[in-house]
Amino acid sequence: MKNIYIIAATLVLTLFLESNAYSGDIEEGKKLAFDRKKGNCLACHMIDDGELAGNNGPPLIAMKARFPDREVLFNQIWDPTETNPNSFMPPFGKHGAITKTEINKIIEYLYTL
């Protein structure tokens, strides 16, 4: 019986810690997505409560439904010209505008939309 309590406590603690790290990434991801010098996603996409959003890219909504495969979304941000050489979207990762870690944080945020 005692063991069960310990396991349960550990589980709760792990979940709490994990979800905390998680929400930190989401918040940072949002900042990166809105920052003109980083993702500047708002330049082209309507997002959440972002002000003065552009409209030449699709609105970023239902991202989990649209990109169930995380890798596809990552690649789209890393280098969209891979799938469409004429893409208007910059190859953010490939051209070093943002790092891998930053893209992953942005994805955490995008998956909340």
């Binding site: 003065l52 409209n55 030449n56 208007f88 051209h95 505008a97």
Partner: protein, 277 residues
């Protein structure tokens, strides 16, 4: 397999057509594209840049043009234009029709140098020929003022850029066209990405202007800069924004680019200097 060959044929056909299209065919394609894109915009209105396609920013702009911020530059430019060099000559001696109402003929292909000649380069060449130091193409100042005055005397004249049927001239035109459609910089944008494919959409609060009519109103008084900006300084502004390294004003790349975009604007009236956001 059949599909593959079909696509292959289509692509080859397209590549061949575009590779051998004459400048005049290019211009017609360009014009048709914008006509389809903005059916409510009259061709002649493209000289007004983004204001030809966006009614709300046009209103603000028209109220600015009621008291043009560049008026003083035209006056200063006229005084500079008429001031004799140390040797007694004036700018008028270097240009056709004494430099009045000629903006629409620039740039042209100069057979002697085998390169494109722009109005602003011709202004500096005139100074050099008369033993004067060249003027800077950046940050407004006398070059922008003289260019503004020369554009002002040409208002209402229609752009009439010619591409002679010589390989050198066609090569210069093609080089300009190639640069226009080439993706550059960290953000990987070509001129055409914003000013052809995405013109009229919103980038944050900005609307990229249509790719015809860009050269009619230069030099332009930019509210953000609070001064006149020459065309080549504006090119550098675009390149900086896409995080590419700008070329030097009046180098061959920019001159060829100016040749291409001016030719695309043939038939539009000169209305420089203009004011822009």
């Amino acid at each position: 397999m059949k599909n593959f060959f079909h696509n292959f044929l289509l692509i080859t056909l397209f590549v061949n057509i575009t590779a051998f299209a004459s400048p005049e065919e290019d211009r017609q394609l360009f014009r048709d594209y914008f006509e389809n894109r903005f059916p409510n915009t009259e061709f002649s209105d493209y000289k007004n840049g983004v204001y030809s396609i966006d009614a709300s920013s046009r209103e603000q702009w028209e109220s600015i043009e009621d008291f043009p911020p560049y008026e003083i530059n035209i006056e200063d430019g006229e005084a500079l234009f008429n001031e004799p060099f140390k040797n007694g000559n004036t700018y008028a001696s270097c240009f056709e029709n004494s430099g009045i109402a000629i903006r629409q003929n620039y740039p042209y292909f100069d057979n002697d140098s085998g390169k494109v000649m722009t109005l602003e380069l011709a202004i500096n060449n005139c100074r050099k020929a008369n033993g004067e130091k060249p003027l800077s193409y950046y940050k407004g100042g006398p070059m922008a003022d003289i260019s503004a005055y020369m554009a002002y005397t040409s208002r209402g004249k229609k752009f009439d850029v010619k591409i002679p049927n010589s390989q050198e001239a066609l090569d210069a035109y093609e080089a300009g066209k190639k640069l226009y459609f080439t993706k550059v910089g960290q953000l990987n944008f070509s001129c055409a990405d914003c000013h052809v494919y995405q013109t009229g959409t919103k980038l944050r609060a900005d609307i990229p202007s249509p790719g015809i009519g860009h050269t009619t109103h230069f030099p332009a008084y930019r509210s953000g800069a609070g001064r006149l900006v020459t065309l080549h300084e504006r090119f550098a502004g675009c390149l900086n924004r896409v995080r590419a390294k700008p070329f030097k004003a009046q180098n061959e790349e920019y001159r060829n680019l100016e040749y291409f975009i001016s030719y695309m604007s043939n038939g539009l009236e000169i209305n420089g200097p203009g004011s822009r956001k």
